[in-house]
């Protein structure tokens, strides 16, 4: 059934926000002005419930992006087939404009850590991740986007740069990239990755969505460590990096991602308007 779905096959190149339960009442009462909504797939892939019913209604008015956090595609262990089946059912139900997951691992020896854990940038990790991305794409019958994750350490045996790793996964699996610009910045501070080199290594046309978020600074052993907590406004350095990403990739659907210390909805909408303004400038240059 395709009737009643907002948007087309791709997300609009404007700003969206994450739909969070603290803002359900505002979305149930009206239709806040935002270009698309993103949800964590696992919060909406159960057989029933309040969340699912609300999203069923909202998808008539907003394009939806399903953002998975639980498949741990870079784990050596086989994919959780039951989890994949639930994601596939959610994709059939909500007909999202985008489906994404992460370039991470999260399971070992039968234990799931429910976190987005970093992969070494090696050929072995590229092939393993790309194989599981391919399996997921086959199960869903569509291309997915894979997001670069934040890192608090790097691996001694990595042989590729972050951007080379992502580009190789794209080439191997045919997936797209969900470029998290905050993660690029966090990684530049935490482990010294060059964010511009990462941007330059990703093929133009591969990026189907961008994430912007806030982070928190800690100091450990006298060195700064940025925690990717999605709990504050996007910082100026990340906005500047976002501008550089738009210069390379052109206007791309952009999500304001905010998961902890949730502010009033108006704060999220203000951040989305700022992203829209940057996208507007980008559209103007492209015209």
């Amino acid at each position: 059934m395709t009737s009643g779905r907002a948007g087309g096959l791709a997300l609009p190149a404007r700003a969206g926000i994450g739909l969070r339960s603290a803002h359900f009442a505002e979305f149930a009462a009206g239709r806040p002005d935002v270009a698309f909504l993103e949800v964590h797939t696992e919060n909406y892939f159960h057989d029933g419930g309040r969340e699912r019913a609300l999203l069923e209604r909202l998808r008539a008015d907003y394009p939806v992006s399903l953002h998975g956090v639980g498949l741990a595609l870079g784990s050596v262990e086989p994919l959780d087939r039951a989890h994949v089946a639930r994601v596939a059912a959610a994709v059939r139900r909500f007909e999202p404009a985008a489906v994404s997951e992460h370039a991470c691992w999260g399971r070992a020896d039968g234990v799931h850590f429910n976190d987005l854990l970093p992969l070494p940038f090696t050929d072995e990790a590229v092939l393993g991740l790309a194989a599981r991305v391919g399996e997921l794409q086959d199960a869903l019958g569509r291309r997915i986007l894979v997001e670069n994750v934040s890192q608090y350490l790097r691996f001694r045996h990595s042989t590729l740069l972050e951007g080379e790793f992502l580009a190789a996964v794209v080439a191997e699996s045919g997936c797209g990239v969900l470029l998290d610009v905050n993660n690029l910045y966090v990684n530049s501070v935490n482990v010294g990755f060059d964010p511009l080199a990462t941007i330059d290594a990703i093929p133009v046309g591969a990026v189907g969505e961008i994430h912007l978020a806030g982070h928190q600074r800690r100091d450990i052993d006298g060195r700064p460590l940025l925690l990717d907590d999605h709990g504050s406004r996007v910082c100026e350095d990340v906005w500047a990096l976002y501008g550089r990403a738009l210069e390379r990739f052109g206007p791309v659907a952009t999500l304001i991602e905010w998961d902890t210390n949730l502010p009033p909805l108006d704060t999220l909408l203000a951040e989305a308007r700022r992203a829209d303004a940057a996208l507007g400038g980008c559209h103007a240059r492209a015209a």
């Binding site: 070992a108 234990v111 429910n114 608090y152 350490l153 001694r156 052993d221």
Partner: protein
Amino acid sequence: MRALHEVQHAFGAWLLGRTDDAPEWAVGDGMAPEARLRVYRNNSRALFEQALQLTYPVLRRRVGADYFQQLGHHYRDAHPSRSGDLHEVGRDFPRFLAAHLGGTPYAWLAELSLLEWSVADAGVAAESPVAAAASLAGLAPEQVASALFTFVPSLRLVRGSVPVLSVWRANQPDADGRPVDLASGGECVLVHRGSDDVELRLVAPLEFAFVEATAHGATLDAALEASRLPLAALPALLHRLFADRVIAAVA
């Protein structure tokens, strides 16, 4: 050690606190690699605890944040997450608490946790059509005794040896948390998801036994016999079950 499965195995052991050894595969970049791994260890623990807190807010309020955290640590050691769905993190907690607290004065907390798990699980159970009371009235008189009930998928049955529903209600966010006399008697609860939210219905023990028997496939007649529910009490119970929209079908 550089193969991906070896790195993930060793990283996982770090996350579970099974080793504190400096990993040769992690680069410190100006700080101890162990300090960097501890960030991940703490994140992973915190995510597990947050998932438990979301599922068991009443238990946490009743026992206090510190003891709840301790219980969470023991639970994670015994039952680490096996799923990428955080809803599943709390599934085994009632069983764990029953074993962990069995024989202590706090054993009843396992019953309270089962009620909370039932509320959480009913909240995401499948949708279902419901039967109208007329579906029973439509049966021929000789068919009524052998009638079978199918309940909505969200129905959960919780039998407490203590007043679990009273404790649950006293510890809702808008309640004052006043102590409930645990010696005041057990409570039997039917949990299901209504049109908007999860609903909890207190029923008498014989009524509970009747519903339990029918939910396990007994005919109306057999359930009456097994539960010892007086025939005279049946119409009122059925009326409530239909009104609460917990019966999906009658055959």
